[in-house]
Symmetry: C2
Subunit: 145 residues, 2 copies
Amino acid sequence: MSPGVFDLLLRAADLLNRDMARSLEPVGLSPARMHVLWAVHHGGPASQQRLARELAVTPRNITGLVDALVATGFVTREPHPTDRRAVLITLTPAAEEVMARSVRDHAALTEELLAVVDPADRAALLRGLHAVVARLTALVDEAAG
Amino acid sequence: MSPGVFDLLLRAADLLNRDMARSLEPVGLSPARMHVLWAVHHGGPASQQRLARELAVTPRNITGLVDALVATGFVTREPHPTDRRAVLITLTPAAEEVMARSVRDHAALTEELLAVVDPADRAALLRGLHAVVARLTALVDEAAG
DNA sequence: TATTGTTATACTCTATAACTATA
DNA sequence: TATAGTTATAGAGTATAACAATA
């Protein structure tokens, strides 16, 4: 029996993580820190609480990631306009540049991956992946309560 | 524009990792340790060098994972029959049980995921994933040298 | 009283470098 | 001289619990 959806997705996951870690390394960013930048880039300046919710991680964890991103010049902690307890995590120009390049690389890889798929299979592949991701999302949400 | 292959794969990867971590937790296994058990289960008793190569990780890292698996009763270090420098990592009955259940869960999830895909799309989905994984493998291998 | 972020502490995974015992 | 594994050290990511400041 050839590998099923599960095996293929697992393998793809591993490879994607490897590839992303490799491409981030020269910029001095880890996957976890990139994830924070990505969340701020889509979604705008965010409180650490919001980031914790979006990355499904503890607030304490965000404190550490933001500390590192501040130290390396990718984000700043700005005062929240209406809540003096909170901060607004904001991207620096350096981070905006990284994100712009990331979006381009991202699009290039999407094209490259789709290019190796038989044109007749492309629509079905995307539909199938959508369905699978939706089911997985439901499973995980359900388990998380 | 709806999400492309890349986004869908990334999302699926994240969800799969979450789901696997969740299902392993009650058994007292982390993803990295499970990965070791999996490599020994398929492939038979292994030296730590072989495991390091298969998991693409340093030998020192394997020492730590094996230490933890020995301490929790999932593997034993047996003497290598012909090389007195090496050891053979072997699964305990407890680990064999865990693996048997894992294989069942694995098959169940594969079926469950495929079930939500339109039957007319299934073959194309598998072909497409195969092609994408092959391309990703080539990209990563090429980058690794 | 509830929420935002931080200090304190700890565990897991990972890496490099130096060392030992054996090949 | 090269290989298998370990000791020593370090850093990143993650978690819980207790605490301060503010809402």
